[in-house]
Symmetry: C2
Subunit: 256 residues, 2 copies
DNA sequence: CTAATAGTGTCTTTAAGACATTATCTC
DNA sequence: GAGATAATGTCTTAAAGACACTATTAG
């Protein structure tokens, strides 16, 4: 590295952003048990309601509207690290799957100035969200079904961030092995199927028999030899697990 | 919007980034004709050699190393707009396909300070790059085959940006209709096949007969009725075009 | 026994894979 | 006619789709 060059560099010739934030679209799958009927399984998004006042007691921007959790990135961390830190501060959840999916930098998107947002989506198993920090007022943190999102007031350009997050998680669930982040390490065919059905109505995935057969032939899924569980039905069901491998299925071919 | 809140907001309580840059991985497909043999077709990446001195005459950081073209984003534009502007300034090329694929913000990635890089990849048909601006010294702008990239000195963390760009364009070419950006609006099966073969060796794509048959059944490709061209062979070949549609092919199913 | 999910048998239909053959044109 | 790419014919094999049927167990 050229030391002289570093010292001579004058960043003041360029205008610099007024802030760099990390936002998180936290998804979970909510399963609602019903008597004598299969459970209603839904993909849900966690939003927080912006407070009327800031911590300093001044009126808060976009107060009362719903927003993705997030906050300013510190100079000694990446936005991904900030997202993990903020999600833990907000919900007590840590160690979950998180992925960058977009960058939002349209001039005027935030009235406070030139503020960049690095957007991530997170996948959180439902049970982790239930054991949420007591410090959060339940009124201000809420899970929404995806259809509900059109009907509530959203802060800043978060309607756009959310629409993009949904598109991203949908394609990741169907085209990568991302579904594993909603599941225990060993799972039944019907558990995997339930995750996929939150984002698709493909008949080949909808049919129990077809899917139960298909899962055995998928190169990225292995049987957990000999293991079964009765957690999804009275009859014990075989357990499967994801293999560690990259999957690219070209749209131009049929097989793997 | 809450006006009082805007005025009371004090951005100085947070440290702000020292710069926001937009970088571009410019890909093109180079086709080298040979006598009595099929042409050698390769995916190539354009890089620029960093000057010894800045425009102000001071020593340049990372001078002499190869880097992705790019530069600082202005407050009145998005990084995507900046990428288009910079690519035109650099190569005279405009109106081409450009896509965000990553954000690079690791502390220390740029010795000049806390500098964020919003990375894009661009797809440029080869003939547009040939008519490059004369103002560029040919020595300092060069196309590299992907294998060559391991052997040349790269500036900053651009080795990482480039590796991610290659992964992204590879998966986009195979899993989306991105290949259309390397092709004329109407193309033969062998032209599409040549594009795909730059990023895959899938036997179903490699075989002429198999691919010529398969292209007729793809739901996102239509025949250009009655039209043919002889530009790829002595025998006139049918022309095809991409339909305007989203394609998601789940890894869990066989058909569309 | 009933109800529910798990899992198999089997037949039909469709598509993939392989390989040979024909078509069209330039040189 | 040689040589190149384009395109089809046809046979074999594998997989998808459909539907009936069996298995296991809680209540």
């Amino acid at each position: 590295m050229n030391k002289e060059a570093v010292e001579q560099y004058d960043s003041s010739v360029y205008r610099t952003p007024d802030g760099y934030t990390s936002d998180i679209a936290v998804f979970t799958i909510h399963s609602e048990k019903r008597e004598h009927k299969p459970p209603v399984v839904n993909l849900m998004l966690m939003l927080i309601r912006r407070a009327e006042q800031t911590a300093e007691g001044t009126p808060n921007i976009e107060a009362g509207k719903w927003a993705l959790p997030g906050g300013f990135v510190q100079p000694d961390e990446t936005a991904l690290e900030a997202a993990h830190r903020e999600l833990e501060e907000e919900t007590g959840v840590k160690g979950i799957h998180m992925k960058h999916y977009g960058m939002y930098d349209r001039p005027g998107r935030d009235p406070r100035g030139w503020i960049l947002s690095n957007a991530h989506y997170a996948i959180v198993p439902e049970d982790l969200l239930v054991s949420r920090k007591a410090s959060d007022d339940a009124e201000d943190v809420q899970l929404f079904r995806l259809e509900e999102l059109k009907t509530i007031p959203l802060a800043f350009d978060h309607a756009e961030l959310i629409a993009d997050a949904i598109r991203e998680i949908r394609s990741d669930l169907l085209q990568t092995t991302a579904a594993k982040n909603f599941l225990p390490s060993e799972f039944t065919y019907s558990e995997l199927q339930a995750v996929l059905l939150t984002v698709t109505d493909d008949p080949a995935i909808k049919s129990e028999q077809a899917f139960a057969r298909k899962i055995k032939t998928l190169p990225f899924i292995a049987e957990a030899e000999g293991k079964t569980t009765a957690r999804t039905s009275k009859k014990p069901a075989k357990l499967y697990k994801f293999k560690e491998m990259d999957v690219i299925k070209p749209i131009y071919t049929a097989r793997y």
